[in-house]
């Protein structure tokens, strides 16, 4: 079982004719993903890996209704492409690129909230449901020591760290149900706490691992969900950046929005206070998972 996508999800790929996009479309299909159509303005009539290409999302879904759209577009076109997908009624959108202009991201976040659609990204590897052979994004699923089907849900802010941590999960004899990359941007278009209810409802997920880091308040929101008992499964967290020098990246006013939240120390305190387990090192994740899963029985 899985969250967000499974092998029945009808997936559209926007920007399908690019080189990287072709490569990963092939892999998505090989993995079992139901890719129904692609979009690149001006290239209707072509095919990519056997997938028909349309000028626009509207024209694509008229012929091939889609449940979800994956965006392989450069950051400056991300807003246009996301709105195009939402406008055509697509309810799940994954935007991979890094470097989306900040104000575009704020507007997209607002649009997603007001339409009720789930827009995931940017700066992410996407979503993979190892439990049910479907992926939107780029994950080297063929590396068996990293990607193995199982019953642990993963949410992450970092692609590179995901491989590190999922390898530890597999090392512990476990596997993953779905891995959801919410991305590393300052404005994640879907937040950890918004994915949590999906894992809560998924019968194929017994526990959740979150891979977080310094900055923002997403980890604190997870702690709140546990405290309010809207999330009741065991949760293990691993957070990067506890010894990071105070960033110059974030301006003073950015730091103050989170007033007292945002440091790893505060995040650990919030999560542990709510009853989650926090791994100090990557190598502790597997053991902590085994512990919490043994308790559940």
């Amino acid at each position: 079982m899985s969250v967000i996508i499974d092998s029945a999800t009808r997936v559209l790929v926007q920007g399908i004719t690019g080189k990287e996009s072709r490569f990963w479309t092939r892999h998505m299909i090989d993995y079992g993903t139901n890719v129904v159509a692609g979009v690149t303005p001006g290239k209707e009539g072509q095919e990519v890996e056997g997938v028909p290409v349309f000028h626009s999302v509207r024209r694509a879904v008229e012929e091939f209704p889609a449940d979800a759209s994956l965006l392989f577009v450069p950051p400056r076109f991300a807003r246009d492409a996301v709105y195009e997908a939402l406008d055509a009624g697509i309810q799940k959108v994954v935007v991979l690129c890094e470097g989306i202009p900040l104000h575009d991201a704020l507007r997209m976040r607002r649009a997603a909230l007001s339409t009720g659609a789930m827009v995931i990204g940017g700066n992410t590897s996407g979503v993979i449901s190892t439990g049910d052979g479907a992926m939107m994004g780029f994950f080297p699923y063929w590396i068996e020591r990293v990607y193995r089907p199982g019953r642990v849900g993963v949410m992450t802010r970092s692609g590179s760290l995901t491989n590190e941590i999922t390898a530890r999960i597999v090392e512990a004899g476990l596997g993953t149900s779905s891995i959801v990359g919410v991305g590393g941007d300052a404005v994640p278009l879907t937040r950890f706490a918004e994915v949590l209810p999906l894992f809560e409802a998924d019968p194929g997920t017994d526990a959740v691992v979150i891979i977080g880091e310094l900055g923002g308040t997403m980890e604190e929101e997870v702690a709140e969900a546990i405290e309010e008992a809207t999330f009741t499964k065991p949760l293990v967290a691993f957070l990067g950046g506890s010894t990071a020098p105070k960033g110059t990246k974030m301006g003073h006013a950015g730091a103050i929005v989170t007033a007292g939240k945002g440091t790893v120390e505060d995040k650990v305190a919030a999560l542990e206070g709510a009853g989650a387990l926090v791994a100090g090192r990557p190598s502790e994740v597997g053991e902590l998972l085994q512990t919490v899963l043994a308790k559940v029985g």
Partner: protein, 374 residues
């Protein structure tokens, strides 16, 4: 990208936000002309991007021309070549306020922050007197409307003409935030003068790095960086930070890099420099190595576990760079991810051991740095 104070104030002036009369001085010889223009007493302010200029003595007041000359020379000496001073008319300060606009990621809006307790760092106010901070959310598609600006000023306790000036100032500040794709626009302190005027005594504008391509007014240049290496790295689009420790880090992906940085510190090691060459930069391993070598590390630690950042490409580039650059320090690697099955052989060809475990690699690097220091 954070702008210099004088650039922020140029933007303020263009949009109608009052700033003190001032002139940029790039050479001690230009000082007399500047003093004539702005008058005495004056403030002399180093145009550098690091924080805490006041505490570091990089902002000074002078009431005579002689004093101004002495202080300007002192500041020029401590900030080094190529840096400028902003000489400004000193203000009659009645009180100091705070005003800024930043991004609010949860609701996807802009957020105005204001406080009657200006002149100190806003984090300090947030920590000690959170009730003294006024917040107003702004929907980007509507923009800041006049009533929203008025609300902020009334909450701050401003009245009459001051409230009118403050609202106009905030409307202009929002205009800049929007027009320049800012991450942050900030006026701190916002000075209320004895004569009842509101003036932006300092200004901070940070343009979102992801928007620089459509903000052509402020191109990337050496001026914005502390060192040549940092500038070169930024021009290549490679995040690079320099520290004063022993281990040079080259990692793919910022999440993993931060964790390696943590693990080195946990183990009692120290970091010389931090290069993150993941994602779209993964073919820049050789350049990353050149940059790292200039930070003179005692050990180089390369850790990757990439998806897009292919392990085989990284190992190949690294082997090539070692052959060409002949580093005289030991190198520890844990290079994994897409294409990893070819890595052992590629590294072996360059005389490197293949390590599979991140934490083992970090431990090894710390140990080698210790030995190198003896």
């Amino acid at each position: 990208m954070r702008l210099f104070e004088y650039q922020a104030k140029e933007l303020f002036e263009e949009t109608g936000i009052p700033v003190p009369k001032g002139r940029l001085v790039s050479d001690a010889a230009d000082l007399d002309g500047a003093l004539e223009e702005v008058g005495l007493p004056c403030a002399i302010k180093a145009q550098v991007l690091r924080g805490g200029r006041g505490k570091a003595g990089l902002i000074q007041l002078a009431s005579t021309a002689e004093e101004a000359r002495a202080k300007a020379e002192g500041i020029f000496d401590s900030i080094g070549d190529g840096r400028s001073l902003l000489v400004e008319q000193a203000l009659d300060i009645e009180r100091e306020l705070y005003l800024s606009i930043t991004a609010e990621p949860v609701s996807g809006s802009a957020l105005v922050l204001a406080s009657a307790e200006g002149g100190v760092e806003i984090e300090e106010v947030a920590r000690t007197m959170p009730e003294k901070i006024v917040r107003e959310r702004v929907d980007l598609s509507e923009g800041l409307l006049p009533y929203g600006a008025r609300n902020v000023m009334f909450e701050l306790g401003l009245e009459g003409d001051e409230a009118r000036q403050g609202s106009a100032m905030l409307m202009s500040l929002y205009d800049l935030f929007q027009r320049y794709d800012a991450e942050l626009v900030e006026i701190n302190p916002l000075v209320a003068t004895e004569s009842g005027a509101l003036v932006a005594a300092d200004g901070k504008v940070t343009i979102d790095d992801g928007s620089l391509a459509r903000q052509s007014r402020f191109p990337l240049s050496r001026d914005y960086f502390e060192s040549d290496i940092e500038y070169e790295a930024a021009a290549e689009g490679i995040p690079y930070i320099e520290f004063d420790g022993d281990i040079g880090l080259m990692c793919a992906g910022s999440g993993l890099t931060n964790v390696i940085y943590d693990l080195v510190n946990y183990g009692g090691g120290s970091v010389a420099s931090y290069v993150e060459f993941g994602g779209p930069n993964y073919r820049k391993g050789a350049k990353a190595m050149e940059l790292t070598m200039r930070s003179k590390p005692k050990v180089l630690l390369v850790v990757t576990f990439g998806t897009i950042a292919r392990a085989d490409v990284i190992a190949e580039d690294l082997a090539e760079a070692i052959g060409r650059l002949q580093p005289d320090f030991p190198i520890v690697t844990a290079i994994r991810g897409t294409g990893e099955e070819k890595v052992r052989e590629l590294l072996g060809g360059a005389g490197l051991e293949f390590l599979d475990d991140t934490e083992d690699a970090v431990e090894r690097a710390i140990e080698l740095a210790r030995v190198a220091k003896r």
